[in-house]
């Protein structure tokens, strides 16, 4: 009992303080104020870190409290931020709180204060704020050195698209500082006397090595580097798989690189096992499968960098994500011409789980066989129905047999089947030419297709069998890849067998039969029209026993060497379409259809010719007009080849133009040409007609014509018209008269020319020389000395002046041609010719001679060169001519010398030549002082000199001519 009393007393005593406490705390406001407030600066994070405690809390007491915090900048009174911080406080707890400043803390002094209020539901309202704590100062500038310029924040990490504030502190207030962001001038605002701030909005990523910001005053530039990070993306395509049921591999697409040297971290967390692993790669992570047969996995991938955290989750069943490793050691085994066995191995999965493998056989890049095989360790499969000598590719892949999810990677192996003998006879055709009655056969064969060669064709065997001589066999071996050979036969019948050989053996033989005689080639040629598909043609079988038909043609145009082509057709075929990629529009192709007999003999059945597509003629004929009359002419173009045109020539158009307004001739029709001119057009619908007669034309008219062929596709190109002028209606008559007349005149002229001497003698003979006259003989015979032939007229010389006596002895005066009888009694002829008043009849002394041989034509000129003769007259231009010797000498001295160049010593006798006339002088250089005509003494030349030669022309020919005429033997006696 006593014990109970003691316990009760103790319990009451214990309750007493509690009661007291309750009365104090719960019923009255508590004076709880923050104590020991301290502020520190975290420059790296640009944070103000606050630390304080709350006193007056009892032991074990927990109270929910609110702290109101105020932050000022530069001055305590400039509050820039006010906020509340709520937390539960215990006794002696040191509270922490951080505030991140957008302005770098180094650039400004910050002040912090706070007050508190109990915010606990257990405390009845009203509640009261405590008193403010004192201002606490945070000054980072104290730690700065004495540099004149500082820029902050240093090496700040920012996310692309965010805003960042940069500031500088300048110790020198006078300094004019400019700041640049990557060389771009940036403007800021002044916060303090020495502090400027620059707010960079929506900053963008430039490079991994950071964005430079620097400020430049008078001193050394200072700056900072901002490391801009791209926004971290959420991982995409997150999936997991296992290749061996031991290790899980999760992969994802991390998206764009954040651009920071510090890469984001990737962590894989599995919620069932509550395990996590830090991934070593940014797009892949391995996870070890535990042995506790965990089948389901709930993975969460967390990507995290300085600014963000991204996560993505999947629920994964281990069995459903098996991706086997690729098989290995795939090899062909026992490869024959048609079969091959493929073997391969696989990596075991788990406890020798079954794998489903897919074996594919590819030929020429296409899958031609595909087989699914279930295996555990080793795979083997027999591939059959292969083609000989063919390269194949075998490839295999495997998947998890229990639950298919994904094929493994493929592995492949190439192999080639063995060769076999060719399976088909070569397609053979022949071309037979008969040379001197002997057939020369050119055999053609087409290369076997790859599916029939079964190996490389090495050669072709050609066996020529003479059917008329049973034992006669000729074997030719033609090495591949030749596709033709020539065989000369005699006039027997032959069978020719052609086989293709590869390394294994020959192909079946292909047989053609050749008759020793030419067959019937006189088969009418029919026309065919080509279509888009080729040349459709049909024929009528001639015999019921035909074993087939062959259509042969040449692939190229007719003017090119023939590339013989043929097509084999079955015995029941009576029509086909011949198509070839070589066919071109506008080219004529000739086809020959043969019927093959049971003896493999070919008989020409039909000939066809046609165009794949007819074109208009490419050129026009060269038209020659002939037989031109006043009313017609003929056009001819016989050399125009109709066979080699770009279509079947159906006829010709003859265009005719005549005078405007004229009507077209009969058969012509008016047509308008492309140049809008009107002309007449005649249509010749016979392609073989290559002449055309233009009739009913007008004489002396101009006609223009033009001939062009036409095909079903149109007419030829429009060339220039040629002109023809019809002649006058009577012109032929004139021609018939005038031409003979002209001919006759010409004949007469030629005859006259040839007989000119004879004519001269007959029509105008030379004047007879009196000394040679027959009369002279008569005179002599009468012995009458008084009778003379020539008398000197009244012009008797008065005086003869001998200029140079010594030389004058050589001069023979021949001015008076006296007869020898008369000259005998005369004195020496060296006399001075002195003028006398009696004989003087003109302005100067004249000398006049007369001779009966004088050229009358010369005297008829009316004047004969009268010159005053003076004693000083140096040289008479024709002085030397007065002496026949001098004349002859002068002429012999080549009359190229001018007369004035004759030495004075040779001109002893001063007299005036009658030849010194303008007619006989230098016509191009008339004398400066032409002599005045004086009717005084006359001189008549005693020589029969042609007028043109009276004066020696300065030419060699003339000299020769003069020499001939002045032959002294002929004229001087």
């Amino acid at each position: 009992m006593a014990l109970f009393a003691v316990l009760q007393t103790a319990f009451l005593l214990a309750l007493l303080p509690l009661r007291t406490y309750q009365s104090e705390v719960l019923s009255e406001p508590l004076p709880l104020t923050p104590e020991s407030l301290s502020v520190s600066i975290n420059s790296a994070k640009q944070c103000l870190h606050l630390q304080w405690t709350v006193h007056n809390l009892d032991y074990h007491q927990e109270l929910k409290m609110v702290f109101e915090i105020q932050i000022s900048r530069f001055k305590a009174s400039d509050v820039i931020w006010t906020g509340n911080y709520s937390t539960t406080v215990t006794q002696n707890q040191v509270l922490h709180w951080s505030w991140e400043s957008e302005l770098p803390l180094e650039c400004a002094i910050h002040f912090v204060r706070m007050r508190t209020m109990v915010d606990d539901a257990r405390i009845p309202v009203p509640r009261f704020w405590s008193n403010w704590s004192s201002w606490k100062k945070a000054d980072a500038q104290n730690s700065l050195g004495d540099h004149p310029l500082y820029v902050f924040p240093k090496d700040k990490l920012v996310e692309e698209g965010s805003d960042v504030t940069i500031c500088y502190i300048s110790r020198n207030h006078q300094d004019n500082i400019s700041c640049y962001l990557e060389d771009v001038l940036t403007f800021g605002k002044q916060l303090d006397q020495s502090v400027w701030a620059f707010e960079l909005k929506n900053i963008s990523f430039l490079r991994k090595t950071g964005t430079n910001f620097y400020c430049q005053g008078q001193g050394v530039p200072e700056g900072v580097v901002l490391f801009v990070s791209k926004v971290l993306e959420e991982p995409k395509n997150f999936s997991c798989e296992t290749r061996d049921l031991k290790t899980l591999t999760c992969t994802w697409d991390p998206g764009d690189d954040t651009g920071l040297i510090q890469l984001p971290s990737y962590t894989l967390f599995e919620s069932f096992s509550r395990k996590k692993t830090l991934c070593k790669h940014r797009n892949r992570c391995d996870w070890q499968v535990t042995q506790d047969s965990q089948e389901m996995y709930n993975f969460t991938l967390v990507a995290e960098n300085y600014f963000r955290k991204r996560s993505v989750s999947i629920l994964f069943n281990l069995i459903h994500g098996v991706h086997p490793v690729a098989p290995y050691n795939l090899f062909p085994k026992n490869v024959s011409a048609t079969n091959a066995t493929m073997t391969w191995k696989v990596h075991s999965i788990g406890n020798n789980s079954a794998l489903l493998c897919q074996l594919q056989l590819l030929g020429e890049g296409k899958v031609i066989q595909q087989h699914n095989i279930s295996i555990r360790v080793n795979g083997e499969y027999l591939l059959s129905e292969l083609e000989p000598d063919t390269e194949y590719m075998a490839r295999v892949r495997c998947a998890y047999a229990d639950h298919f999810w994904k094929w493994s990677e493929l592995i492949s192996q190439n192999f080639t089947t063995a060769e076999a003998a060719p399976s088909e006879a070569p397609d053979v055709w022949r071309d037979v030419m008969f040379v001197s009655g002997h057939p020369t056969v050119t055999l053609f064969w087409k290369p076997l297709s790859k599916v029939h060669t079964h190996g490389k064709i090495l050669f072709y065997n050609v066996v020529v069998e003479n059917l008329d001589e049973a034992s006669s066999l000729e074997v030719l071996s033609v090495p591949a890849p030749a596709n033709s050979t020539k065989v000369t036969l005699n006039q027997s019948s032959y069978q020719i067998h052609v086989t293709a050989h590869n390394s294994v053996g020959p192909s079946p033989a292909s047989t053609v039969a050749i008759s020793g005689h030419p067959g019937n080639e006189n088969v009418e040629e029919g026309r065919i029209n080509g279509t888009e598909d080729g040349f459709p043609m049909s024929w009528k079988p001639q015999s019921r026993n035909a074993t087939g038909y062959v259509v042969e043609w040449c692939d190229g145009p007719q003017n090119l060497p023939c590339v013989l082509q043929w097509k084999n057709l079955g015995p029941t075929t009576t029509g086909t379409v011949i198509s070839s990629g070589a066919f071109r529009p506008g080219v004529r192709y000739n086809f020959r259809i043969y019927e093959i007999s049971t003896k493999r003999m070919a008989h020409l059945l039909e000939k066809k010719t046609g165009y794949l597509e007819e074109l208009a003629p490419s050129y026009n004929p060269q038209v020659v007009p002939n037989n031109l009359t006043s009313h017609s002419f003929t056009l001819s173009w016989k050399d125009y080849p109709t066979e080699s045109q770009t279509g079947f020539i159906q006829g010709y158009y003859v265009y005719l133009k005549s005078k405007a307004g004229e009507k077209c001739h009969r058969g012509f029709e008016k047509t308008v040409l492309p140049d809008n001119s009107v002309c007449c057009k005649y249509t010749i619908d016979n392609p073989d007609q290559k002449t055309f007669v233009m009739k009913d034309l007008q004489p002396e008219s101009v006609y223009e014509f033009f001939v062009t062929p036409y095909t079903s596709a149109g007419e030829g190109p429009m060339d220039d018209f040629r002109k023809v002028t019809t002649p006058d209606e009577y012109s032929h008559i004139l021609i018939h008269i005038i031409l003979p007349m002209i001919f006759c005149v010409l004949v007469i002229m030629i005859a006259c020319y040839l007989k000119s001497q004879w004519l001269k003698d007959k029509c105008y003979p030379d004047i007879p020389d009196p000394y040679k006259s027959s009369v002279l003989s008569l005179i002599k015979s009468k012995e009458n000395p008084h009778i003379t032939i020539m008398n000197v007229n009244d012009c008797v010389p008065d005086a003869i002046e001998v200029v140079n006596k010594p030389e004058g002895s050589k001069i023979q005066f021949t001015g008076t041609r006296k007869s020898p009888t008369e000259t005998k009694g005369t004195k020496p002829a060296y006399l001075d010719l002195l003028p006398t008043e009696k004989n003087y009849s003109g302005p100067g002394p004249c000398i006049c001679f007369e001779n009966f041989t004088y050229n009358q034509a010369a005297s008829d000129l009316g004047y004969c060169g009268h010159f005053p003769v003076t004693s000083q007259a140096p040289h008479c231009p024709l002085g030397p001519l007065t002496s026949p010797e001098n004349l002859l000498k002068t002429l012999e001295q080549n009359y190229m010398n001018s007369l004035g160049e004759i030495p004075a010593g040779e001109a002893n006798l001063n007299y005036v030549s009658q030849l010194a006339s303008p007619v006989s002088g230098d016509k191009e250089s008339p004398p400066t002082n032409p002599p005045e005509p004086a009717l005084c003494s006359e001189y008549k030349m005693q020589m029969a000199i042609p007028l043109g030669l009276a004066s020696p022309p300065p030419s060699e020919n003339s000299s020769l001519s003069s020499t001939t005429l002045l032959d002294p033997g002929e004229h001087y006696h």
């Binding site: 990557e182 090595t209 900072v224 040297i261």
Partner: protein, 202 residues
């Protein structure tokens, strides 16, 4: 080997800097013992000249490569950001005796070698993909090391100088990125300028 050099050399330099940075000590007294591990080659001065010429021929391209890799504004503000105003750079007097010139050369090469080590280390962090710059910096540092050895050999063998007190530039490991870039650029600008003088002086 390069990794080893890039890691160990700066470490050694930093340790050395802690003890004696900024306090140049007098050269070895004349009567001090001087011994080289290997005999110096006979054509030592030729080798020194060739190495200086080699450094001089590549200094400008290294400078260009460096400031180009730093991005703007460095290439366009070379005079402001990359001026050769390195305050504590060892002096050189071209008109001194060979011994004095070699001693000064030794100090300069040691200074440059340490600074290039810092630059190489910084650039591998700041420009991890600028492999061309890294290799050029490493190659230059290699030649500087060889030159330092040759100069010491010459000093020891001919002038009996076995030890030269050297100074190093400021360690940039604690500086911000912009300072690292700027100091590196200034150092390489100074290097380009000084190496030309040295190549001509020898």
């Amino acid at each position: 080997m390069k990794v080893l050099a890039a890691g160990v050399v700066p470490l050694l330099l930093v340790l050395h800097w802690k003890q004696g940075a900024g306090n140049p000590l007098p050269i070895t007294p004349v009567n001090a013992t001087c011994a080289t591990r290997h005999p110096c080659p006979s054509n030592l001065m030729n080798q020194i000249r060739n190495q200086l010429g080699q450094l001089n021929s590549s200094a400008n391209s290294l400078f260009i490569l460096y400031y180009t890799a730093q991005g703007e504004p460095f290439p366009n503000n070379l005079d402001k950001l990359c001026g050769p105003n390195v305050t504590d750079f060892p002096p050189f007097h071209a008109n001194g005796t060979e011994k004095a010139r070699l001693v000064e050369l030794y100090r300069i090469i040691a200074y440059l070698g340490a600074s290039l080590g810092n630059i190489t280390r910084d650039q591998k962090v700041l420009n991890p993909y600028a492999h061309g710059l890294h290799s050029r910096l490493s190659a230059t540092a290699d030649v500087l090391r060889g030159l330092l050895s040759n100069v010491l050999c010459r000093l020891c063998s001919k002038h009996h100088v076995g030890h030269v007190d050297v100074t190093y530039g400021p360690d940039t490991s604690g500086k911000d990125v912009f300072q690292k870039k700027k100091l590196g650029c200034q150092l390489l600008g100074k290097y380009k300028q000084v190496i030309a003088v040295l190549a001509q002086a020898f």
